[in-house]
C-alpha cells in the first residue's frame, strides 16, 4: 500500500459506527400495514439510499406507485416482478442500515397467510420483532399468528408499531385501545419486553423523528428504541457445544474438527466428550488461520485438535464433559408445517439438526395450536402453516438441548425425502423418558438362527401397484410356488390386515401412511422370525415404501412393481371398485382421485398388461433366484 496516513483514522471511524454491535430485527404483521414503507423510511432517513436508487424509486413510483405523486417506499423493497405487479410482498427481503450506535439487519417478511413460513424464516435469525398494526384495523388474526410464531422461534422482544396514526387523527384513545387489545393475547406468551409506539411510517413520525402531532406520546422513537435495546444473550455462559461440520485432515500429522461453537466457550486443556459415543478427550489446540487461540466462544468458527485420537465424524457434537447434551431418538417438539402436503404422523422425513441428518417420523401428533386463540386442539394431521406439538422418533439417536436454552442445539428442519423441499421447522422441548426406559433385550436366538433352521434367506416381497394391476393374484401364486419348493412363507394383504390389526384406519392420506407403517412393522417381525413374507398393498406413496425398506436389513426388502396401465385396471375391475369410484361412492381412490407415486427403482418391475398371472409369478421366482435370495 502506498500511503499509510489516514488508515488509523479510518479504522477509528469505522469502529465507532456500530459500536453497539449488530441488531437483527424483522417486520411483520398483516398485508398493507405498511411494513415495506417503514423500512424504506428507515433507509431513506438514515441516508442509506444512493442517488441512483432514489432516481429508480421515483421512476417506479410514477409507474406502479400507490402513493400518488409521493415516493412509494414499498417499491424499494418489493424486489421481485410478481410482487411489484401484485403490490404485495411474497418473500423475505434482507436490508442493511446503520446509525452511529448500531448496525441493523432487517428482514422484511410477508403478511399473507400462505407466506407464514417466510415469516418464520425471518424470525429464526432475529433478535426483535416489529409487529405492524394498522391503527384503523387494530389487532388482526395475522397479528396474533405472527406474535405466536415470534415467540415460538424464541424472539424475546416485541415492538408494537401502531402505524397510520395520521388516519385515526393521531388519537391517543385509539392507541391505548389497540395496546390493551394486543396485551390481552400476547401477555401470556412471556416476552421480555413489549414496547408500543404510535407512528406514521409514511411521514416518518416517531420512526426517526419525534412526532409533533402526537405530543402525548413520551416514549422513544422506533430508532431510539432499537439503538438502545439490550439484546445480550447468555449463550456464552451455557455449556460448551460444537457440532462437527468437517473433519480437517490435510496430512497424516494433523487431524482437526472444524465447526461453529453454538454455545459456551472452550480453552485448551478443557475436558470434552463426543456426545453420542461418550468418548472423552481434552482440547489440545484451537486452530484458526490467524494462529492458535487461547479461547473460543459461541459464534466462533474454529478447528479443534484433541489430545487423543477418538472416532469423530460430521454430525457428532463435541461437548463439555461435565455438562452433556441429552442423547435419544425420542423427544417432544413444537413443529411449524410449511408444505402444501400435510404432515402425516408415521411418514418418514429427513431431520437435520446441527450437522446431523437422520430419517425421522412424527410418532404422535399430540395437538395443534389454534393461533387465533392460542388454544390446543386435537388433530390427526398438520396443514400448511399449522403449528403442532409432536412426539418425534429418529432412526438414530441425536444429541440435543432444549431449543429455549441453546437454539442451535434444539432447532431442526424436516425435509421431504422425495421432493427434497424443506417442509417443517421444529424446536425440541424435551427428551422422552419412555425411550430411555425401554431397552432392547438381547435375545439368545437370533434372526440368522431362525433362518438357518428353515434353510432360507428371510425377505419382504413388497407388491405395489394400482388396484386391479394383479398384485394379490401374483403374490398368491408366488407364495404357492415358494411353498411347494419347501420355503416357509407368510402373506399379508388387505384382507387379513384391514379387517384386524388396522380396522380402525380409513383411507385418508394420514391413515394410509399409518396402515403401511403397521404392515411394515409386522413384516419386520416375520422377517425376524426367518420367514419370506409377501405383502400386497397399493401403498401409493414412495415415502412409506422407503420407510419399510429401512426397517429391515439391506437386501431384505424386495420391491415388486406390478405395473398395468390404469385403463387396463379399470377394465379388469375385479372388485368393482373403479365403478364405485366413478359413481362417487368411494373417495380417495388411488389412481382416480388420489395419487399413485410410481416406484423409481424397484428391484422387480413386472408389466402385467400382456402377461398371464402364471407368467408373472414365474418371472418373480426367476428374478429371486437370479438375485440369490432363494439359494
Amino acid at each position: 500500500m502506498a500511503d499509510e496516513i489516514p488508515q488509523t483514522d479510518v479504522m477509528e471511524r469505522l469502529t465507532q459506527s456500530g459500536s453497539q454491535g449488530v441488531l437483527r430485527f424483522l417486520t411483520c404483521g398483516s398485508v398493507d400495514d405498511g411494513k415495506s414503507t417503514l423500512i424504506g423510511r428507515l433507509l431513506y432517513d438514515s441516508k442509506l439510499l444512493f442517488e441512483d436508487q432514489i432516481n429508480v424509486l421515483e421512476r417506479d413510483s410514477r409507474k406502479h406507485g400507490t402513493a400518488g405523486d409521493e415516493i412509494d417506499f414499498a417499491l424499494l423493497l418489493d424486489g421481485l416482478e410478481a410482487e411489484r405487479e401484485q403490490g404485495i410482498t411474497i418473500d423475505v427481503a434482507y436490508r442493511f442500515f446503520a446509525t452511529e450506535k448500531r448496525k441493523f439487519v432487517v428482514a422484511d417478511t410477508p403478511g399473507h397467510e400462505q407466506y407464514t413460513r417466510n415469516m418464520a424464516t425471518g424470525a429464526s435469525t432475529a433478535d426483535v420483532a416489529v409487529m405492524m398494526i394498522d391503527a384503523r384495523k387494530g389487532v388482526l388474526i395475522q397479528t396474533l399468528r405472527h406474535t405466536y410464531i415470534a415467540r415460538m422461534m424464541g424472539i424475546r422482544h416485541i415492538v408494537l408499531a401502531i402505524n397510520k396514526m395520521d388516519l385515526v387523527e393521531h388519537s391517543r384513545g385509539r392507541f391505548h385501545e389497540i395496546v390493551a387489545d394486543y396485551l390481552r393475547s400476547a401477555d401470556a406468551l412471556g416476552f421480555e419486553s413489549i414496547t408500543p409506539i404510535p407512528m406514521s411510517a409514511r411521514y416518518g413520525d416517531n420512526v426517526t423523528k419525534r412526532s409533533e402531532s402526537m405530543v402525548w406520546y413520551v416514549g422513544p422513537t422506533l430508532i431510539e428504541h432499537l439503538e438502545e435495546l439490550d439484546i445480550d444473550s447468555d449463550i456464552q455462559n451455557e455449556a460448551f457445544r460444537m457440532p462437527v461440520q468437517w473433519v480437517n485432515r490435510p496430512n497424516l500429522n494433523f487431524r482437526g474438527y472444524s465447526g461453529t461453537i453454538v454455545s459456551g466457550s472452550v480453552k485448551p486443556g478443557d475436558a470434552v466428550v463426543v456426545a453420542g459415543s461418550g468418548q472423552a478427550a481434552k482440547i489440545d489446540r484451537i486452530v484458526t488461520a490467524d494462529g492458535d487461540v487461547d479461547e473460543a466462544v459461541a459464534g466462533d468458527a474454529v478447528t479443534l485438535v484433541l489430545t487423543r485420537e477418538i472416532d469423530i465424524s460430521r454430525g457428532d457434537v463435541i461437548a463439555a464433559a461435565d455438562a452433556r447434551p441429552e442423547v435419544t431418538g425420542q423427544f417432544a417438539a413444537e413443529i411449524l408445517w410449511m408444505s402444501e402436503d400435510s404432515l402425516l404422523p408415521g411418514r418418514s422425513y429427513l431431520l437435520k439438526i446441527g450437522t446431523a441428518t437422520t430419517p425421522a417420523t412424527v410418532s404422535a401428533l399430540k395437538h395443534r395450536v389454534d393461533v387465533n386463540t392460542y388454544e390446543k386442539k386435537p388433530s390427526r394431521q398438520l396443514e400448511m402453516n399449522g403449528i403442532g406439538y409432536c412426539n418425534m422418533s429418529t432412526a438414530r439417536p441425536i444429541a440435543f438441548d432444549p431449543y429455549h436454552r441453546i437454539r442451535d442445539m434444539g432447532a431442526f428442519i424436516l425435509i421431504d425425502r422425495f421432493t427434497n423441499q424443506t417442509v417443517g421447522a421444529g424446536m425440541i422441548e424435551f427428551g422422552l423418558r419412555r425411550a430411555s426406559n425401554i431397552h432392547h433385550h438381547a435375545m439368545d436366538v437370533t434372526k440368522s438362527d431362525r433362518a438357518r433352521i428353515k434353510g432360507q434367506k428371510p425377505a419382504i416381497l413388497w407388491f405395489t401397484g394400482l388396484s386391479g394391476a394383479g398384485k394379490s393374484t401374483v403374490a398368491n401364486l408366488v407364495e404357492s410356488k415358494l411353498s411347494q419348493a419347501g420355503h416357509h412363507t407368510y402373506s399379508l394383504d388387505g384382507d387379513n390386515i384391514r379387517h384386524g390389526l388396522n380396522r380402525d384406519l380409513g383411507f385418508t392420506d394420514g391413515d394410509r401412511v399409518e396402515n403401511v407403517r403397521r404392515i411394515g412393522e409386522v413384516g419386520k417381525l416375520f422377517v425376524d422370525s426367518g420367514l419370506i413374507v409377501t405383502c400386497s398393498f397399493i401403498s401409493p406413496f414412495r415415502a412409506e415404501r422407503q420407510m419399510v425398506r429401512e426397517l429391515v436389513d439391506d437386501g431384505e426388502f424386495i420391491e415388486v412393481f406390478i405395473d398395468a396401465p390404469l385403463e387396463v385396471c379399470i377394465e379388469r375391475d375385479p372388485k368393482g371398485l373403479y365403478k364405485k369410484a366413478q359413481a362417487g361412492e368411494i373417495k380417495n381412490f388411488t389412481g382416480f382421485d388420489s395419487p399413485y407415486e410410481v416406484p423409481e427403482s424397484p428391484e422387480l418391475h413386472i408389466e402385467t398388461a400382456n402377461l398371464s398371472a402364471e407368467e408373472a409369478a414365474d418371472k418373480v421366482i426367476a428374478e429371486l433366484k437370479r438375485m440369490g435370495r432363494l439359494g
Binding site: M1, A2, P6, Q7, V10, M11, R13, G18, G21, V22, F50, E51, D52, D60, D78, G79, L80, E81, A82, R84, I90, D91, Y94, R95, F96, K103, R117, N118, A120, T121, S124, T125, Q245, W246, N248, P250, G256, S258, G259, T260, V287, T288, A289, D290, G291, G299, D300, T303, M338, K352, I353, R407, D408, A411, I413, I415, N420, Q421, T422, A425
Partner: protein, 324 residues
C-alpha cells in the same frame, strides 16, 4: 501487474503457509461475526456436496470470498477448484491479477469461455450488453456447470446489491436447467441449510449474503487482502459515453464520432467487462481513502454496471435464466 502488487500477492500467500495473523489489532466485532457465518456456510458445502466449485470473478467480493475460504479450511488446501467465466472483455489487469493470485496460492483454476460466442464474434458494441451478457456470461456459466457437473457453486453476491438479490436464499436451489424459481424458494431457518438435491440439480451458495459493500471494504482493509489495482485511483485513458466513463482498455473499443480518449484520474468501484463498467473520478489511491470515499458516496456501486439498467427487473430475469 505492478511489482508492488506481485510482492503483496507473494506475501499474502506466505501468510497461509505460516498461519500467522498480519493484523496489529483484532478484527472488528461485527466483521468477526460475518466472517464466522461465511466460514460456517463454506464448511457445510464442502461437507455435504460431492463436486463443489467457487465462482471466481476476480473482483473485490471474490477476493473476500476466496480469503474466507482459505481461512475456513486452514490448514487444509481448498477442497474445491475456482471457476472463472471469461467473457473475453475483462480488463487486462484483472486477468493478470487472477493468474498471479492462483499461481501464488497454488489453486486449481478453471476458465470457461463460450467458444461458440467467440467464433460468432459476440461483443457488447455490435450486439448490445444484453445479448453479450446472455451469450458470454450466462450461457458460458451454464456450460461450465454442465461440463464439470458441479452440484454446488459459491458466488460472491450480496443482498445489499440489488432488490432481487435481497430476497435470495443463502443456499439457492437451481433446477436441472440451472434456473431459479423465486416464488418457490426453500424456507431457510437459523443456520440449518437444506443441502438435498437430485441428480442434475444444483445449489448456488452465497456466503457473502449478509455483507454490505462497506463491510467488504472494511474487511479488505483490516485483513490486508490483495485486490486488482483498478480499484485504486490512477491516470487512465477514458471516454465519456452515456454519462459513464468507459476505460479504453484495448483497441477493441470502437470510438464513436467525437469521442477522443482523455487521461483522467479514475478508479472502479466494481469490476466486470471493461466496455460495460463505468469508472468514477477519484483520487483515492489506497484502501483508507477508498473507505472514506465510500462513507460519503452518493451513488450505489451498481450504478456503474450498465447491464442493470437495461430494463426494470433485469437482474431477476437474468437470474431466472441462470445468471448469478
Amino acid at each position: 501487474m505492478t511489482i508492488d502488487s506481485s510482492e503483496q500477492i507473494g506475501a499474502y500467500a506466505a501468510r497461509f503457509d505460516a498461519g500467522r495473523s498480519s493484523r496489529a489489532r483484532p478484527l472488528s466485532a461485527h466483521l468477526r461475526r460475518l466472517e464466522a457465518e461465511s466460514i460456517h456456510i463454506m464448511r457445510e458445502v464442502a461437507a455435504e456436496f460431492s463436486n463443489p466449485v467457487m465462482l471466481y470473478s476476480i473482483g473485490k467480493d471474490s477476493a473476500v470470498m476466496l480469503h474466507l475460504a482459505l481461512k475456513a479450511f486452514y490448514p487444509s488446501r481448498l477442497p474445491f477448484p475456482l471457476q472463472h467465466v471469461d467473457s473475453t472483455f475483462k480488463f487486462r489487469e484483472m486477468i493478470a491479477f487472477r493468474d498471479a493470485m492462483t499461481t501464488a496460492l497454488g489453486l486449481e483454476l478453471r476458465v470457461e469461455i463460450n467458444e461458440d460466442g467467440r467464433v460468432r464474434g459476440i461483443n457488447p458494441f455490435d450486439h448490445g450488453s444484453q445479448l453479450h451478457t446472455q451469450v458470454m456470461k450466462t450461457e458460458a456459466l451454464r456450460n461450465a456447470m454442465t461440463r464439470h457437473g458441479y452440484d454446488a457453486a459459491f458466488g460472491g453476491a450480496r443482498r445489499d446489491e440489488e432488490k432481487s438479490r435481497a430476497k435470495e436464499r443463502i443456499f439457492s436451489f437451481r433446477d436441472n436447467n440451472h434456473g431459479w424459481d423465486p416464488k418457490n424458494q426453500r424456507p431457510e431457518l437459523w443456520r440449518n441449510y437444506n443441502t438435498k438435491i437430485k441428480q442434475g440439480e444444483s445449489i448456488r451458495v452465497f456466503p457473502l449474503s449478509n455483507w454490505t459493500e462497506l463491510d467488504i471494504w472494511q474487511y479488505i482493509l483490516e485483513e490486508d487482502i490483495p485486490i486488482v489495482p483498478l480499484y485504486f485511483a490512477a491516470e487512465r485513458p477514458v471516454v465519456e459515453r452515456d454519462g459513464q466513463l468507459i476505460m479504453v482498455d484495448d483497441d477493441r473499443l470502437p470510438l464513436k464520432p467525437g469521442e477522443t480518449p482523455t487521461v483522467k484520474q479514475v478508479r472502479f468501484r466494481t469490476l466486470g467487462c471493461y466496455p460495460l463498467t463505468g469508472a468514477v473520478e477519484s483520487g483515492a489511491s489506497n484502501l483508507g481513502e477508498i473507505v472514506l470515499e465510500m462513507l460519503t458516496a452518493r451513488t450505489s456501486e451498481r450504478s456503474g454496471r450498465l447491464i442493470d439498467h437495461d430494463e426494470a427487473g433485469s437482474m431477476e430475469k437474468k437470474k431466472r435464466e441462470g445468471y448469478f
